[in-house]
Structure formats: structure tokens, C-alpha cells
């Protein structure tokens, strides 16, 4: 597969020739399986991940830099052979330097990995749906589905609409209105379920088992999760082929931190950067922080929680990748932090006021956690820190309605402006 073949010259939604998914291996017992829409090992029920040929040809930095600016520029580390047919242009979001935020954190330098402007649905879920929908296509699964806290619903609905595939989207009944509308506009079958995300997730595990659909975060999740690695790849490339010393990322199911860890290791193994792996820091809201508590305990199992936080996109009480996220954090010398709902709102405002980037509640959690980690000495004056901002603030406006000062209302008279200027 060459770079030129990946250019967005039109999407083939009918043929699958020349495009196949990779085989799978169980992370728990090592059993191998042919490519299939299953995320579960038949032997031990452990999680499956794609198998990459260790002898495959890998591109140089210079070769990567000639390619289209999308997540597919890293296709050698994504779980397919051949040319992807769907969703060719997500990824490669801006890495924005944030000197004022660095000053507030007391670190040497800071950047925002800004997936709040991800194409097309303004969250990092465009990355994982890009790989999942191509996996569905290789397996001939025409119906795409998901269990979602909101951002994934937006992404599955949009990517499926573009591909001309029917989508079934299952969400908790009380999601933020903007996230519901940002899904419904794409005309999927949108189903609200009485219960929490964890209830929805359990239902979708049963749906995947009974309907033969491509449920992106159930039976396609071995391929779906790989898309998140591209955030790590982009950070390395956009920093000039070097690593930051620390990365702070939000945790819901724990998959993003898990895949960031894998992505940094992939690029280190390929010799694409020479530094140590960055320390990984996970952020959760204190009203739903099972992974943070596992990191703090140091060992054991995830203890599930019933979520109670306004950070709805992080409200997963029984995180499927919690254990692997905690291992990634420990392996890199990182840590995890939980912040209150009040602090996450302050985090949204801090990020906006210092960087000009408007994030959703999950980004507020990430920013507030970074501040907490800095105050507690986990981040220091020599650190170069990347904050992974995974979603857009326009999706979660409600928590800000009463948090911002009212704007003055004046007559269209210059003296009234002068009075405001004098009072400012």
C-alpha cells in the first residue's frame, strides 16, 4: 500500500477487494485467530488485538511526512492490509503550544492535542470509528452500532451516514441534549435506554451476540481501539519526532490511555523517536473514578462504581480497559487524578482563557487534573506536557450556563461603552 493510494479520491462503498483486516491474538493467553468480527478469545474470553507482521516494511519520518494529513498516514500501524475504503480523512488534528497554560501549571512547556476540532464530529471518537467502520466493511457487516456516552454516538452516526450504512445507536436516556441532537441529525436509529452507560453497554454486548451487526465497541473493538494509537503518533510527529515528558489524558473505559501507551511504544520500537516514553497520567471525575482508585491502590481488580458526575462522556463505572490503562500508567512512571465537578468546570474555563480552545466536560477534567498533578508535584518545572483534549465544548454547554458572569446590556451609546471601559 502506498501513500498515494490513501488519498481521498472517492469512497468505494461497494467493493472490498484488496482490503482485509489483520488476524487477531488474545492478550491474555496468546491464542491466535483469523480476522473476524469478534473481540473475545474463544479459549479464555480475554481481549483480542490485531497481529502486525514484525517484518513488514515501515516508513521513514520523511516518507510519513509526504502523506495525506489524516490518521491513515500511519497505516502500517493500523489493523489492515490494503487501501481503506471509508472515512479517509479523520485525524491529524492540531497540536497547539500553550505557553500561558504552561505558566499556570508551572511546567517548562505545554501543548494541547486538540481533538475538539476533529473531523467530522469534533471528538477523538472519529479516530476509532474510522478504523471500526473499515473493519465492518471488510467483514461485510452492513449495520453499524454502538453503545455510547455521546461522542461515539455522534461519530458512528456521522461516519455511517457518509458510508451509506444503517446505524443503530444506543445511549443512556439522560445524555446532554447537544449530544443527542448531534447524533439524531444523521438519521440513525437512535435508542435511549433507561439506565447508565454500563447498562447500555451490557445491552449492546447482548445485541452484538444476537443480531450480527458491527457493534464498534463490542465485536469490532479489536480494530476500533487501534485508531486511538494515532493520537500518540501525531504527538510525536508534530513535536518534531520527539516525545514530551508527560501526557495527560481523560479516562472513561481506559482505552485511550491504553492505546496511547501502545502507540508510543510502536513508534519507539520503529526508531521514530529516541526519547524515553512519556509518563502517562489519567484523569477522571471524582464521581466516577474506578481507574484512578485502582492506580492509587496499586493492584487488584477494578471495583465498579455507579457514576455521579456531569462529565457524562467519562461516566463509565465498569471500564473494560481499566486494568490495562492502569498498567500503562504504572509502566511509564505516571499517575492518575480525580477532580470534582466544580474543578472540571474551572478546568474548561482555564483551558479556554489560556489557549482559546473550548472543550467539553471531559477536557475540563483533563485540564483540572493536570493542574492538580502540578500542584502535587507529579508535574514539575522541567516537564514538557501534552494535554489530550478529546471533545468540543459546544457539546456540553449546560454546566457553564450558571458558571460564567452575565454580560452587560447597554444602549447603543458611546458613553455607556466608556463607562464600561472605565469600570473594567
Amino acid at each position: 500500500m502506498t501513500a498515494s493510494l490513501l488519498a481521498p479520491t472517492g469512497e468505494d462503498t461497494t467493493g472490498r477487494a484488496g482490503f482485509t483486516a489483520l488476524s487477531l491474538v488474545c492478550e491474555n493467553c496468546g491464542a491466535r485467530f483469523d480476522p473476524e468480527p469478534s473481540a473475545i478469545c474463544l479459549t479464555c474470553l480475554g481481549p483480542l488485538v490485531p497481529v502486525y507482521d514484525p517484518n513488514r516494511s515501515l516508513p521513514s519520518r520523511a516518507e510519513i511526512q509526504t502523506r495525506q494529513k489524516s490518521l491513515w498516514r500511519y497505516h502500517e500501524w493500523l489493523p489492515f492490509d490494503g487501501t481503506p475504503t471509508l472515512s479517509p480523512d479523520s485525524g491529524f488534528t492540531p497540536l497547539v503550544e500553550a505557553p500561558e497554560l504552561a505558566r499556570r501549571l508551572g511546567v517548562a512547556r505545554a501543548w494541547v492535542k486538540n481533538d475538539a476540532v476533529s473531523h467530522p464530529t469534533l471528538s477523538f471518537k472519529d479516530r476509532v470509528v474510522s478504523t471500526a467502520i473499515n473493519a465492518a466493511h471488510t467483514f461485510g457487516l452492513d449495520v453499524i452500532a454502538c453503545a455510547s456516552t455521546g461522542n461515539l454516538a455522534n461519530a458512528v452516526a456521522a461516519h455511517a451516514a457518509r458510508a451509506g450504512k444503517p446505524a443503530w445507536i444506543f445511549i443512556p436516556h439522560d445524555l446532554e441534549p447537544a449530544k443527542v441532537l448531534n447524533t439524531a441529525i444523521f438519521a440513525p436509529k437512535l435508542v435511549r435506554v433507561r439506565g447508565t452507560y454500563d447498562d447500555v453497554n451490557r445491552l449492546c454486548a447482548q445485541v452484538a451476540d444476537n443480531f450480527g451487526w458491527g457493534v464498534v465497541n463490542v465485536n469490532l473493538r479489536a480494530y476500533y481501539g487501534e485508531g486511538s494509537k494515532t493520537m500518540a503518533f501525531e504527538i510525536i510527529e508534530q513535536l518534531g519526532w520527539r516525545a514530551p515528558t508527560a501526557v495527560v489524558a481523560p479516562m472513561a473505559g481506559g482505552a485511550l490511555v491504553t492505546k496511547l501507551h501502545r502507540g508510543f511504544r510502536d513508534f519507539a520500537a520503529a526508531g521514530l523517536f529516541d526519547d524515553s516514553l512519556p509518563r502517562l497520567y489519567g484523569a477522571q471525575a471524582s464521581g466516577c473514578a474506578p481507574i484512578v482508585r485502582l492506580v492509587e491502590r496499586g493492584s487488584g481488580r477494578i471495583e465498579p462504581e455507579i457514576p455521579a458526575t456531569i462529565a457524562r462522556s467519562l461516566a463509565i463505572g465498569s471500564p473494560a480497559d481499566g486494568l490495562t490503562a492502569a498498567r500503562g500508567i504504572a509502566d511509564t512512571g505516571g499517575w492518575a487524578a480525580a477532580v470534582s465537578d466544580a474543578d472540571l468546570v474551572a478546568g474548561i474555563r482555564l483551558l479556554a482563557e489560556t489557549t482559546g480552545i473550548f472543550t467539553e466536560t471531559a477536557g475540563g477534567v483533563t485540564t483540572a487534573a493536570a493542574l492538580h498533578l502540578a500542584k502535587t508535584g507529579r508535574l514539575g518545572p522541567n516537564d514538557e506536557v501534552v494535554l489530550c483534549i478529546t471533545g468540543n465544548g459546544l457539546k456540553t454547554l449546560d454546566p457553564l450556563v450558571d458558571a460564567l458572569p452575565p454580560s452587560p446590556l447597554i444602549a447603543p451609546k458611546l458613553r455607556e461603552v466608556a463607562a464600561l471601559v472605565e469600570a473594567a
Binding site: 451490557r202 454486548a205 473494560a320
Partner: protein
């Protein structure tokens, strides 16, 4: 107490294709032990070496995660439904 246990398709390979089994017991643990006596190869996929729920599955008693109600010690009543789901899902 008599209840029904629903299994995911991946485990029905171990029960001669049956995905819904009748079981008896006063607790979830006793009901699980009952079906593993009849289908011994199920045991390591439902119960770990320490006698706790196997970590790659989640048990729901009438839609409630049993981890919130005592795990295998959760009491069951006649007519209850115990659903076993793969834990590798979501996020």
C-alpha cells in the same frame, strides 16, 4: 430457588449449544456451581482460581451487576434471571 442463566454464544460451545440453562441455588454462586457440575468445562470461564467471578465475564442478576450486591454471595429468588456477558466490551 430456581432461576434461569443466560450465556453468551461464546460459552454455548461448552453447553452443547444451549444459551439458557435452568439452575438452582440460594445464591448466585450456588447457581453457578450447579451448572458447572453439569457442564464442567464452563467452570474455569465462570469462576476464577480464588472462587470469585472470572474476570472476563460480568454477571447480572435481573439486570443488576452482582458486584454491587455481594458477588457470588448475592441471594437469588425463584424466577430470577442471571445473565452472563463478556466483560470485554464498551469504552
Amino acid at each position: 430457588m430456581s432461576l434461569t442463566i443466560s450465556l453468551p454464544s461464546v460459552l454455548s460451545r461448552l453447553t452443547d449449544g444451549s444459551r439458557a440453562l435452568s439452575a438452582s441455588g440460594a445464591t448466585v454462586g450456588e447457581a453457578v456451581a450447579d451448572i458447572t457440575r453439569r457442564f464442567p468445562s464452563l467452570a474455569p470461564r465462570l469462576i476464577d482460581d480464588a472462587g470469585q467471578p472470572y474476570p472476563f465475564v460480568t454477571f447480572y442478576l435481573n439486570d443488576e451487576d452482582i458486584r454491587f450486591s455481594g458477588g457470588f454471595t448475592a441471594p437469588v429468588r425463584d424466577g430470577d434471571e442471571l445473565t452472563v456477558v463478556s466483560a470485554v466490551a464498551g469504552g
